[in-house]
Symmetry: C2
């Protein structure tokens, strides 16, 4: 733990907040004024210099003011008060919009993403609850014309995956019906993430050992269940980032947007978020190289027995307090909305 005296703490906070506000380096005089420190700029300067030695601040060139380093932001963030109130009008707006029971689950995710982006002025990333942690509900094989069937997996919380599969000749609708029931019966209540290939083999074997076309159902089930269905991901408000001075150079912006289009990387990052609390990644701490100029403020939410994640992505020079408040509250509201509806 970094130990800083009161003055240095105030200075760190002041430098961070002023830099975040103006995107400019903060000079000693300005910092003294803003921090309401009644000492001379020269004194401030020596304090700033010591914090620079600690690696919390830098300056871009000899005669410029100070800007925080990633470590500086980290210490600042860790100093932040845990709870921060949100205006009650904002709370209501969010609750109302997310709580609408007429909405599809997919729409809720979209809404949440758009709201987060709108509230903070940064980009947001929202991952819908994945199937992994859900309970298997039922499998339905529905005949579709000639030699085709629609296979639908439903989990007990209402998520669906569907696919049409080809059948060999001579499969009667009753066969399908029978197989559906058998599989449903045997898998019901298993956690989707727990299904192994063996288990599947076994279940299908028991259910019905004389159909060759089982192979196709099996392959498909396997792909859809155990192999980890990518959670649906939604990015919103990326455009806000273009307004930030750190992304005014086209190739920085390009790299950023490349990263945002790389869904699997995003999924990976979000998967690492702990179940409780707001998690923050600052600059260099970010595993994704393309996002080293960014910070992420993330939180998981719960939808029944499923888990989803939301995040805000902005420059390291980010309004962390606001972001944390927004993320925390939206995550809570989302959990609530998911509990009451689907």
């Amino acid at each position: 733990m970094m130990k800083l005296d009161a003055r240095r703490r105030i200075l760190l906070r002041t430098v961070v907040e002023e830099h975040v506000r103006t995107a400019e380096p903060v000079g000693s005089e300005h910092a003294a004024l803003r921090g309401r420190l009644r000492v001379s700029p020269a004194t401030i300067r020596s304090a700033l210099a010591s914090m620079e030695e600690l690696g919390l601040l830098t300056h871009p060139h000899t005669s410029a003011g100070r800007i925080p380093t990633d470590r500086g932001y980290r210490v600042y963030v860790d100093m932040l008060p845990k709870a921060d109130p949100l205006s009650s009008s904002a709370r209501q707006k969010i609750r109302r919009r997310l709580g609408d029971p007429a909405e599809e689950p997919g729409d809720v995710v979209n809404d949440a993403a758009r709201m987060l982006a709108g509230m903070t002025g940064y980009a947001s990333v929202v991952a819908a609850p994945g199937l992994q942690e859900q309970m298997f509900g039922s499998l339905h094989l529905v005949p579709l014309g000639e030699q085709r069937a629609l296979a639908v997996i439903a989990t007990d919380s209402g998520a669906l995956q569907g696919h049409s599969i080809e059948l060999p000749e001579g499969v009667a609708p009753d066969d399908l019906e029978h197989l559906s029931r058998a599989i449903t019966h045997r898998l019901q209540g298993s956690r989707v993430g727990d299904l192994t290939h063996q288990r599947l083999e076994q279940v299908l074997g028991e259910a019905c050992h004389h159909h060759r076309w089982l192979e196709e159902v099996k392959a498909w089930l396997w792909r859809n269940l155990a192999q980890g269905i990518r959670p649906q991901i939604r990015v919103a408000g990326a455009r806000h980032l273009l307004a930030e001075p750190e992304f005014k150079s086209p190739d920085r912006a390009t790299r950023l947007f490349e990263a945002l289009e790389d869904e699997s990387a995003l999924v990976g990052m979000l998967a690492a978020v702990p179940d409780e609390g707001v998690w923050i990644l600052i600059g260099e701490e970010n595993p994704h190289e393309q996002l080293r100029a960014c910070s992420l403020v993330m939180s998981a939410y719960r939808a029944g027995d499923r888990r989803g994640t939301i995040a805000i992505l902005g420059p390291t020079r980010m309004r962390y307090r606001r972001a944390v408040t927004a993320v925390r509250f939206v995550a809570e509201s989302l959990s609530e909305a998911m509990r009451s509806s689907a």
Copy 2:
């Protein structure tokens, strides 16, 4: 129809293609050289001046070369040869990637979007086939625990929409089963887009007149079917546009990205694309104000009896030939892939 003599046609083509290549205004000498016209620059100048009077060209300031106007691009595009070959290696790659029968329909759409963007270096927009033009296949009401059911609509081509609905007390699984069958039986084969609210009322009335919870099923059916389910839309490669000089100013870029996040506007634009052929919107022709600096190259594709749309979005200073070739071929491949698999 704009009538241009051979020289002017060559000049228009040269100016457009050179400007597209370099993003710079094209001078008379350069144009003469590139167009292999064996006349002096002075002659070229007078021809260029006349085309400026026709509104096909402008120059940004007195001593600069010519750049095409939107009308200039339009005439250029209309002069383009209809068919343009695509290298056979590229064809194969596309076919292989889209044709993989193991893929989910949603993935095919994603792949198509990514490929279009990659091939052209612009952004792509792909709309998955909507339900409107599909045939109703079946409705399944699946009991989910206590007072909850999962309602799944399937069309005959395998598309799904699912939602969980709340049930009043006293609904037995058999009721659900019965209702599912009744509704399926009555609606099967209807075009989804043709279902009216009345028709729905009537069918539900016939199917079962004593359940109050029908209201909920009905509302949901109506929302999902007749009210036009927004087709799933996918934008890819938006980052490429950041590299284009016309979007290097952050606020232009911002406006562009705003437009790209406005899904309903995109859906609207794509809906207007005719069933056959490649459709092009250039700059001012674009109904969407935010996209006046862009051109769109679009084509519909068929997936059984459904219709989807693909588009490339780039600056007006766009490689139209390449874009047209890519869009045409991907649309064809997509139609093929959809025919053979789902």
